[in-house]
Structure formats: C-alpha cells, structure tokens
Symmetry: C2
Subunit: 327 residues, 2 copies
Amino acid sequence: MIRIALDAMGGDFAPKEIVKGALEAARELPISIILVGNELKIESELKRYKPLPNISVVHASEVIGMDEPPISSVKNKKDASINVAMDLVKEGKADAVVSAGNTGALMASALFKLGRISGIERPAIATIFPTQKGEVLLLDMGANVDCKPQHMLQFAEMGSLYAERVMHIKKPKVGLLNIGEEPEKGNELTMEAYPLLSAAPINFVGNVEGKDILPGKIDVIVCDGFVGNMILKFAESVSRTVFALLNEELAKSPVAKLGALFLLPVFRNLRKRIDYDELGGAPLLGVAGVCIKAHGRARAKAIKNAIRVAAEAVSEKIVERMSHLGE
Amino acid sequence: MIRIALDAMGGDFAPKEIVKGALEAARELPISIILVGNELKIESELKRYKPLPNISVVHASEVIGMDEPPISSVKNKKDASINVAMDLVKEGKADAVVSAGNTGALMASALFKLGRISGIERPAIATIFPTQKGEVLLLDMGANVDCKPQHMLQFAEMGSLYAERVMHIKKPKVGLLNIGEEPEKGNELTMEAYPLLSAAPINFVGNVEGKDILPGKIDVIVCDGFVGNMILKFAESVSRTVFALLNEELAKSPVAKLGALFLLPVFRNLRKRIDYDELGGAPLLGVAGVCIKAHGRARAKAIKNAIRVAAEAVSEKIVERMSHLGE
C-alpha cells in the first residue's frame, strides 16, 4: 500500500482543510496517509470524523510559514512539519510528500533530505495551469532563476515524462516558451536551448509564445524560473483584477446586479474551470522522491487531488524513470 | 504648429480607421497631420469627410505587413509607408511619427533613419497597460532580449521622464520587475540592476512582482525585453480566454443568457476600462525622434489618442530631455 506523508500544517487553511482532504482521500483510495504536524491540533480535527485505519499521525513541533525564507527556515527548524514529512520518505516510512505550504521550503527540504536524482543538474518546480481545454504543465516556476540550455533540456524531458505517466497524456506536446515562433527567435538561452530540445526524444513542437499558454494546445511548456515565476504571479493577479473591476462596475448598477444573479451558475462554472481545487497539485521534478505541492489556498478537494497525484507518481515509478534521463 | 506623420497603412483597420482617427484629431487639436501611404486608398477614405486644411497626404507605394520580418522589410521596402513617414521627420518636414503597424519595423525604421539619442545605449519599446486605477508604463517590451544592468537603468530613467512629462504623473513611482520584493532577490540581471536604479535620480520604489502590474500602484515598471514581451503576449491572451470561457458557459444556459443582457452595460464599461482605444499609444524611447506606436487593433479613437500623445511628446521636448540622460 502506498504511503503518503502529508504536511498537515502547510497552506492557508491548515490544518482543518488538510485533514479533511486526507480523510476524503483515505476513504476513496487504497493508500495510507500519515498526517505530519502538531499532534493536538491534528487530533482535534480528526475527532470530527469516523476514524479510519489508513490514517495515522506523526508529531512535528514546528511550522514554516508561507513567507519565511526557505533555506534558513528549513535549516533552523529541524522539527518543522515539512522536514519531518521528508524524513519519513528518507527513512523509507513513506513513499511521497504532499504539502500546501511554502514552496521554497518544500524544495529546500527535499534537496537537503533526499537530494537530486542522479544525472539531473537542476530540479525544477512545475505547476499546472488550467486552460481552455485540459491542463498544461509549466516548468520551471522559480527554482532556477539563471538557467543554462542543458537545464532547459532536462526540464523538457522531466516535464514530458511526468505529463505522459501521471497526467496520462500520450506523446505530450512540449513547447519552449519564447517571444516568437521561429527557431532563431529569442534570447541567448532559448536560442541555444532550441536545438537541444529538437534533438531530444520528446514530442518537441518548437517555440511557443505567452499567448499559447491558455488555449491549451500545448501539454508541457518549458521556461527558466525567472520567466515562469513572473507568468505565475501575473496570472494569479489577473483573475483578482478582473473580478475587482467587475464588482466595481456591478456596484454602480442595481439592474446589472439583478442580472448577475442569473449568471451565478455561469460564474460558478467559470470559477470551477480556472480553480486550483480541480487541479491535481504540482510536482517538484528532479528531486530523489515524489514531492507534490498543493496550492497555498488549497481546500479539502485540492488536497485529495494532490494525494491522488502523489500516489500515481509513486506507482508509476516516476523517480526511477527520471534517473534514466541523465544516462 | 506641430506636424505628425501618420502611417496610414499600418494596423488591422488601415487605412479606414487610421484616416478617420486623423480627421478626429485634426478637428480637435491645433496640429497638422500628414497621412502617409497609398494615395488612392487614402483619398478614397478622405472623400467621406469634409476637407480639413490641416490634413495632407504623402504617397508611399509599399506597405510592411504585421508579420513581416522587421529589419529586412525595412531595408528592402524603401518606399514602405513607415519608411516614408520616418523620412519626413528626418528631413524636418514632420515632428513625430505615429503608426499602428509592425512594431519591430517601426523600431528598425526609426533606428535606420533617425538613430539613437546620443548617450542612450539601447532604445526600448514601452507599452501602456490599463490598471485598476490609471495606467502603468512598462518597458522594454521586446526590443532588447538580452540586457545589461546599465540598459535597465536607462529604461528606468527614460520611462520616468516620459511618465512625468507626457503621462503627467508627478514623481512617477518606478519599479524593477522581479520575482521577489527583497533587493537580493532575482536573477543576475535584476540583482545587478537594483543598486543602479537605487542610485538614480528617479523615484525608485524597489522590486515589484508580476502581481503588482495590474493593481496600478506603480507608474513605471522596468524589465528586459524577453520578460516584457512574454507578459504582454500572455496578458493579451488572458482576456480572450476569459471571454471564450464565458461564452461557452453562457451557451449552456438560456437563463444565464437572459441575465447577461442586464449585464451588457457592465461588460461594456469593463471592456472600456481594459481597452486599447482608451489608451494613448506607446512610445519608442531612446530613438532620436518622437515615435508613437498605436495598438495593431487600434480604431479611430485610439489613433486620435496616439496622435495627441505624439504632439505632447513633441511639445514637451521629450527627445531633447532624454539626450541629457546620457551625460
């Protein structure tokens, strides 16, 4: 049975929604879940539900906050929930870690405790964007701000493997994020990365532009961590801005407000389609263990989905397969 | 009287909307406008309106399309409307160029014909984003894909000057686009640019993130052309995607469609607030002449606004002022 170490203290709605998501997953999936964090707090959440045999708790006395500096926090807070969860994998007591907490701390802890997959130079943070049809995997989202072409190649290979095995996309289309479609377009990094990706045993479809992310015609999009993080943060702010403007305009007109009532199901569906809760969580790729990051605002459903994805990555032996990429 | 050379053939709605915009500007502003392009086509548009003494036409036999390679097109099509318009400025027959055509060709033609402002190493393409309150000037948007810290400094200085003089923002807040707020965050380029911007005689507010673009609290945001172009293209696709999803959802529900009717004024206002037509056109900064780029989908109103902005940049002696930056 696959065993998932779940950071019960990470994320905006921890531990409540994390514990709830764990129970939903434990009910539906043939896995066991180890809740890691403040024992008292976790137990008081668990009391709300009927006990399940495949849920257990491991105490951790510290927590790393969302805004704490990743590396120093991971080093100084030895007993942080994310560190304790990672130790469980290191000691062979768990097969994967899931956390909705500080992304940088998750990466730092994974690197300190589990290390890199042999042959992978730079592990990457991937993220999953909802698109007009399906999902797209983007990487790197900020682990590596200054990249070499060789790193981009490995991002492409790891992303392709993950999309195929865990996202179940056959021959995933891999694109290089650039400012033009022609092979000779771009900055030094993308121009040098292009031929490497072309020669790789992946379904490389060439350069793709910023406008190609959301339509959903590409399955895996590769960029350096500076650009990726920029796009991610910008994208998150766009929906906030659109809804803020919409509310401002609605406030001006009672008639429009009335009309908006009829549109509630539409807005709900729209929201659902762009919502993190429906996505499966984003992997750290290239670290020597399965680590899935759920969104910081993840609620129970998103946590359940992240756990499901982690279990799939384990059963698909994703780490072992990636260790062959460097050969 | 300020004389504007207007590329009548550039943009998706040329020459019709360009000519219409020129007439609106000529009626409202104390300027003269030289329409540059295919004489027959321009005259046939002009016939629709009452003649104005401050509108004239200069023939150009060629056009550079939106997707043509900028540098070779500008070199090969000597009689392209954008080249002829630029010649008018070079020969002292016009004070500024306005075009809704190929941005790269506009920049290439400006560089060939007018050159750089002395002391400015890399001219930049700026763009104006609508925000929750007011506008933000972003640069560079793609003229320089690999930048040095010194270039970022000059982008900041040029952007600040432009925002103050032409956008009429007192002490414009200038931010460096980065993936974290702390000075030590970022890639090599932004980390080295930070102290240069800090020491510059501008109102530098430090690093800003992707999420800080749209709320509108910053007036000028500086980034390299690769990142800027990426953000620009991504942003343009977001509204398309949101409206596509909205339409898909509306199609599923007749009740919601009915409700949407009540919301039409709201959608119209929302659109107006994020619409290019309301913006003033974006400047090329650092070339030795006033060049304003209107959006490729610009209609008459946007053209009129771009002409107004060009006239202001001329009367504010923006080129002369920038020539002191390099001293």
